[in-house]
Subunit: 356 residues, 2 copies
C-alpha cells in the first residue's frame, strides 16, 4: 500500500517528514511557502515526482496568500513565489515542470476573477497528483513484465512511494511484480550520505513483504561479481533528450559496474522527469550539498570536524549504460535519441519548463 | 610522523583503540590474549600488518603466562593460544604468517630453558615490528616514485600508520611523496560500514599536512568520470600467487571503475601479506561481519532494526585490474604469475603459514 507522502489537507500542504523515517513517522504541515521551501531543501520531502507535487501545491499556497485584487498584482505575487520555490533544489526537473505548468494555468485564466483562478490552480495541482498516481501505475505495469521469478534485483536510493504520490517509479515496478505473484529478492544500497536506501527503501519494501537485504554502497560490485544480482532498477531526477540520466549520487557507479558484469540496468521515470530542452547530461546542473551531510551521519560526527568534503547529490549516467527507460508511455530503448523523440510526441509539453 | 599503533610496554601489549578515533585518542592495555583477541575482532586494532604484529605479541603474552616447566607442556600451551588468536579474523594473512613464524621460533629452540624461549619469542616479535617498519619505508620509497606533482589520488579504507607499525602501505607512499616535496591531493573514500577512511585516513593525512577530501564511497565513480582522480593507491589483506588481492570491501568496485576510466590502480603490500599457497583469490576466505555494523553507524541505528543485511568485510580484486603491486622488494607488474614468482624467491618463507 502506498503511503500518502504529500497531500492537500485543510488548505495546507501535509507531508511526511522523511528525515525522521524509519524510526519516527511524523507529518509536517506547511501553510506558507517558506516552510515548504525548507522541507524541499532539507529533504523532508524528496524524490523527483514528489518535489514536483510539492512545487505545485506551493503555488497554491502562494496564490491563496496573495491579497491582490487584479491579475497583474496577483501574477506578480505568484511569479515571485514560483521563483523562490524554484530555488530550493536545482537538479530534479519535475519541480520546474510543475512550477511552469502552474504558471501557465494562471496565465491562461487571466480573464477570470482572482478567487476563481485560485480554485483553478488548486484543481491543477490536484490533477498533477492524480496524473502522478496514474503514471506510477502505468510505469509499474510496463516494468513488472521485466521481473521474473528468482530475480535478484538491486536498487539505489529511494524510488518508492515516498518519492511520488503513489507507489513509486523504480520500486513501483517491484510492488507491481509482487502483486502479480513474482518471487524475487531485492538488495538495497544504503545510499550515503542521506541513507535513503537504508532508511526509506528497506522500510517500504519490508512493509510490502518483499524480501529486502541492506548493503553498503561499496558492496554492490562484489554482489555482481558473485552473480548475486541480475537486474538493477533505479529512478531518475532528470533525463536529457539523448537518454543521459541524472539520479542520486552512486547511480553512475552502479551503471558502470552493471555494464562490466553484463547486468541489465533499468531507469524508471515519468515523462515529467524528462528535459527535452537539453541535449545531453552535460547540461544538467548537479546540486552540491553541505559538507555536514558527509562529515556526519544523522547528526553524529564521523570524521575530523574540519575535513574537506566533496558532496554532489547526483551523478549522470550516460545513455549507453542504460538498458531501457521505463515510462508511463512504454519502454524505450537505444538509440535513445530516436526512441525518445517518439516519447516527446506522445506526452511532453515543452512550454511548461521555464524556471530552471 | 607515524603513530605508535601497537607496541610492547611493561610486559603488556599497548594499542590505540581505533574504534574511538578521530574523536578520542585512547590506549588499550592487553595483558592477556582474550583482551587482545577481542581487540582484533572488534577492530580496535586493524590493518593486515598491525594484526600480524598483534598476533606475534599475543604469542609473547601466551608464552609468558604459561606455567609449564618443560617444552612439551609449554608448546601445548602456546599452541592452544595460537589457535585461539588465529580464530579472531580470517582474511588478512599477516596474522597467520606471524603466528606461524612465532611457533617455528619456539620449536627451533626446544632445547633451551623455558625462560630463555620466552625471551627469544619476545625478541622475535620485536623483530617482526622492526621488519614491518623497515618494509613500510621501503614500500614507500618504491611507491613515491609513482606520485607526480599535480596528482589527484584516491584511497580506500586505511592503509596508513594505524594499519602498520610505521607509516603504512598505501598511505606510506603518500607520506613519502610529501616528504620529497611532491604536491598532490588525496580523495578519501569514507569506507562504510566501519568508516576507516572517514575516521582514520583523513585524520592521518591531515596530521601530515596532506590535502585530503572526504567523499562517500558511491562518489568515486563520478570523480573519475570528471577526471578529478588520476591514480589509486590501496593496501591489501591477502595477495594470492596470481596477484588476486583481497582488501576492504569496495576495493574491487574501485578497481572496476578505475579500469573503465583508464586510471592506474596500485596495491601496496609487504611480503607478509602474500599467500603463495593459494593459486587465486577464489581461495581467500572472506569474513562476513555482524549485521549491526551496517544497520547502524557508530552505534546510531539508521535502518529498520530487523532488516536483513549482507556485510562482507572484504572483496577480491582480480589481478588483471591491478596496474602494479608495490612491495618492499620492488614494484611487480603483469603477468603476476611470473613476476610474483621472483618475489617469492626474494623473501618469502612458506613454512611460516600454518594456522589458516
Amino acid at each position: 500500500m502506498p503511503v500518502e507522502t504529500i497531500s492537500w489537507k485543510n488548505k495546507k500542504v501535509r507531508l511526511i517528514d522523511q528525515t525522521l523515517l524509519p524510526h519516527r513517522f511524523k507529518y509536517i504541515i506547511c501553510d506558507d511557502i517558506r516552510t515548504l521551501w525548507k522541507a524541499i531543501r532539507t529533504l523532508q520531502v524528496r524524490g523527483a515526482p514528489a518535489i514536483g507535487i510539492a512545487g505545485a501545491l506551493g503555488v497554491v499556497l502562494a496564490a491563496n496568500s496573495s491579497k491582490a485584487k487584479r491579475f497583474g498584482g496577483f501574477f506578480k505575487d505568484l511569479n515571485r513565489s514560483i521563483k523562490f520555490l524554484a530555488s530550493s533544489r536545482p537538479t530534479a526537473i519535475n519541480l520546474f515542470w510543475a512550477l511552469g505548468r502552474m504558471e501557465c494555468v494562471a496565465k491562461a485564466n487571466n480573464d477570470k476573477p482572482i478567487s476563481e483562478i485560485k480554485k483553478i490552480l488548486l484543481k491543477e495541482a490536484l490533477k498533477i497528483i492524480d496524473e502522478d498516481k496514474a503514471s506510477c501505475r502505468r510505469m509499474a505495469r510496463y516494468g513488472a513484465k521485466l521481473v521474473k521469478n528468482g530475480d535478484a534485483i538491486l536498487t539505489h536510493c529511494n524510488a518508492g512511494g515516498l518519492a511520488t504520490a503513489d507507489y513509486g517509479t523504480g520500486l513501483g515496478v517491484l510492488f507491481e511484480a509482487k502483486r502479480r505473484g513474482r518471487h524475487f529478492k531485492v538488495y538495497v544500497d544504503e545510499t550515503r550520505p542521506m541513507l535513503q536506501g537504508a532508511r526509506l527503501t528497506t522500510w517500504e519494501l519490508m512493509h510490502d513483504g518483499i524480501d529486502a537485504t541492506l548493503i553498503c554502497d561499496n558492496t554492490a560490485a562484489s554482489l555482481m561479481e558473485k552473480g548475486k544480482v541480475n537486474k538493477i532498477f533505479v529512478g531518475a531526477d532528470r533525463v536529457a533528450r539523448n537518454g543521459d540520466t541524472a539520479n542520486k549520487i552512486g547511480t553512475y557507479s552502479l551503471a558502470v559496474l552493471a555494464n562490466h558484469h553484463r547486468i541489465p540496468f533499468y531507469v524508471v521515470a515519468p515523462v515529467s522527469s524528462f528535459d527535452f530542452r537539453i541535449k545531453s547530461g552535460k547540461d544538467i546542473p548537479i546540486e552540491e550539498r553541505d559538507a555536514k551531510e558527509v562529515r556526519s551521519v544523522l547528526g553524529r560526527v564521523i570524521a575530523p570536524k574540519n575535513v574537506k568534503v566533496y558532496n554532489p547529490a547526483f551523478d549522470v549516467t550516460p545513455n549507453e549504460l542504460i538498458t531501457a527507460i521505463i515510462t508511463e508511455k512504454g519502454i524505450f530503448r537505444k538509440p535513445y535519441v530516436l526512441s525518445l523523440r517518439k516519447l516527446r510526441k506522445l506526452g511532453y509539453r515543452d512550454e511548461n519548463k521555464r524556471y530552471r
